[in-house]
């Protein structure tokens, strides 16, 4: 939103930073597609293209969902994954396998299964998190605690179900539960892209209210924002985005926090139309660039998610210790 009246002063720098980020992202993506390709191009390009598409979708989903969530909750520490959103998604997946049985789950078209899971996810997280966030402002520490408790609860139920499940069915599940940017589920790419597109469309229409929401609940209501409704819409968008990223690569706890914090640091503006694209670029840079360096330069495999989580975890601790928790 451009309620910014000081046009000559700030935006150029924010825009320039965004432009540089965009260019870097593009470069890294081209590098990812071409560096070290010693095979036939008609094999390499589609193979890497699918991988890249998955990474871009996940990066987008994680970055946008984190920033939307932080704006709604008016803090910069909590993220959907810290609040247990992705644990909830995995619980839903487990319950589905448990109730339906792996055979039936394997028979169902994965795209339909995925859509079904997303719907359940939206309904449940909608009820649960709206109850927490739409009302009066609550203390951040309480929310953090609620998130931790929810996360543990969801994970415990999940692991309990997995223990009493048939071992063969467990294999089906396990396959889906570890974060790996390498083995993103290609079947789901198209559906994911459509879902992300729809969520973004919904988000686009309320883009200008996001800047107002960031002023806090009271000020937002004073300025005429229908707070409850807007928060509900945003939480639905977040639920869809988290479902997509979790379905594609599994849970990543601190990745969103990492890119969101970097974006706030880099962009000297409060405007979401600048912060959001910056965070998306940073997320793509992190994963694609990281993958490029690890895979092609060092020859490692699939250690990237660990490194990202490590750095993200450090950021989380730093933020907590620096007392940004008010």
């Amino acid at each position: 939103m451009s309620l910014d009246v000081s046009a000559p002063r700030k935006p150029p720098s924010a825009r320039t930073i965004l432009l540089i980020l965009g260019a870097l992202t593009l470069l890294v993506m081209i590098g990812f597609m071409t560096i070290g390709a010693n095979g036939r191009w008609d094999f390499v390009l589609p193979f890497r293209g699918a991988k890249l598409a998955a990474i871009v979708l996940v990066a987008y989903a994680v970055a946008v969902s984190t920033i939307l969530f932080q704006t709604v909750t008016n803090n910069r520490i909590l993220t959907p994954s810290i609040m247990g959103f992705d644990a909830l998604y995995i619980l839903i997946q487990t319950v589905m396998v448990f109730v339906l049985g792996a055979n039936r789950v394997l028979v169902i078209d994965p795209r339909w299964l995925f859509l079904g899971e997303v719907v359940v996810m939206v309904v449940f997280s909608g009820i649960l998190y709206r109850w927490i966030f739409a009302g009066e402002r609550r203390s951040l520490h309480l929310l953090l605690l609620v998130g931790v408790v929810f996360g543990i609860l969801f994970r415990s139920i999940t692991s309990f179900l997995q223990r009493i499940i048939d071992p063969n069915e467990f294999l089906v599940l396990q396959d889906r539960m570890f974060a790996s940017f390498n083995s993103a589920d290609a079947n789901l790419l198209a559906v994911s892209a459509v879902l992300i597109g729809l969520a973004s469309l919904a988000g686009w229409r309320i883009l200008h209210t996001l800047d107002v929401l960031a002023l806090g609940r009271d000020t937002a209501i004073n300025l005429g924002v229908d707070h409850r409704r807007t928060v509900s819409i945003i939480l639905v968008i977040v639920a869809v985005l988290v479902s997509v990223s979790t379905a594609l690569v599994g849970p990543v706890t601190f990745f969103g926090l990492l890119v969101a914090s970097l974006a706030y640091q880099l962009i000297p503006s409060h405007q979401h139309r600048l912060i959001l694209p910056a965070a998306v670029c940073l997320a793509i840079l992190c994963v694609v660039g990281g993958q490029l360096v690890l895979e092609r330069v060092f020859g490692f495999n699939s250690a990237l998610s660990i490194i990202i989580e490590f750095v993200g975890g450090l950021v989380f601790l730093t933020l907590l210790l620096r007392g940004a928790t008010r």
Binding site: S2, D4, V5, N75, D218, N222, G224, V225, H227
Partner: protein, 251 residues
């Protein structure tokens, strides 16, 4: 006119506002005073739709605050609460410009910009206009938020303890400014005040609350009396007339 009709609010078993009915006149400054926990801020939050009420209703110029769309009300009534925590990094001018959001959303007009500059000037904020809020003192931030509310240019402006964090000079400047807003621009200003002497010197109408109920209301002359105030605050208060002003002494 703001009509408050049998409004009640309870947190668990504790009833903080007990079926208050009140008519706040249009125009001028109305101050709500009372001891801690009297329900002043809660009442103000319910009038301004920040807090849902358990019972009763509030009409602002005939508009029911619970059912009227929030963006319609935002052009009629503005509210500033005590602590305004935010995570976004904003300059003073950015914040004040948000006051125009109800009118033009993300497309500020030339007129909006003029409003912003006027509000900045009104509160002596020009030298600070391009500073970030987190670089300011509590009082400077407070003034920036008041500027935003004035920039919103609503008929009714509600403030919950606007003098918080302000030193003597800025506190009296703030009250003079609100007086001007009421006299020159015909705004209706409703304040929750802790300092009863500010209420006495600058208000047209004072509402005194105690234990969730309206204990007394009237002109400053009627309220600023020893027996009235002593009953409300449960402490010895002497009233002196100093240069046509009624000043309470309670130290």
């Amino acid at each position: 006119m703001i009509e408050i009709n049998d409004v009640q609010k309870a947190y668990g078993d504790a009833i903080v506002v007990k079926g208050v009915s009140l008519a706040l006149p249009k125009g001028g400054i109305t101050s709500i005073i009372g001891p801690n926990g009297a329900g002043k801020s809660t009442l103000l939050s319910m009038i301004s739709r920040l807090l849902p009420m358990d019972r009763g209703r509030v009409l602002v110029d005939g508009l029911d605050v619970t059912t009227t769309k929030s963006d319609v009300l935002a052009k009629r009534l503005s509210i500033l609460r005590q602590d305004n925590h935010m995570t976004a990094r904003l300059t003073v001018r950015d914040l004040v410009a948000f006051g125009r959001y109800p009118y033009s959303h993300d497309r500020p007009t030339v007129e909006d910009r003029a409003h912003v500059e006027k509000a900045l000037g009104f509160l002596d904020l020009e030298p600070l206009a391009d500073r970030f809020l987190d670089e300011l003192s509590g009082g400077q931030r407070q003034r920036a938020f008041v500027a935003m509310v004035l920039c919103q240019d609503t008929d009714y402006a509600l403030f919950d303890e606007p003098l918080n964090n302000l030193d003597m000079r800025h506190a009296s400047a703030m009250m003079r400014l609100l007086r001007r807003a009421a006299d020159e621009f015909g705004k209706t200003v409703v304040l929750v005040l802790h300092d009863i002497n500010f209420a006495s010197c600058y208000s047209d109408h004072i509402v005194a609350m105690r234990a969730g109920e309206v204990a007394f209301q009237g002109t400053p002359e009627a309220v600023m009396r020893k027996e009235v105030l002593t009953g409300i605050f449960e402490t010895e208060i002497d009233i002196h007339d100093i240069e046509d002003r009624r000043i309470a002494v309670f130290y």
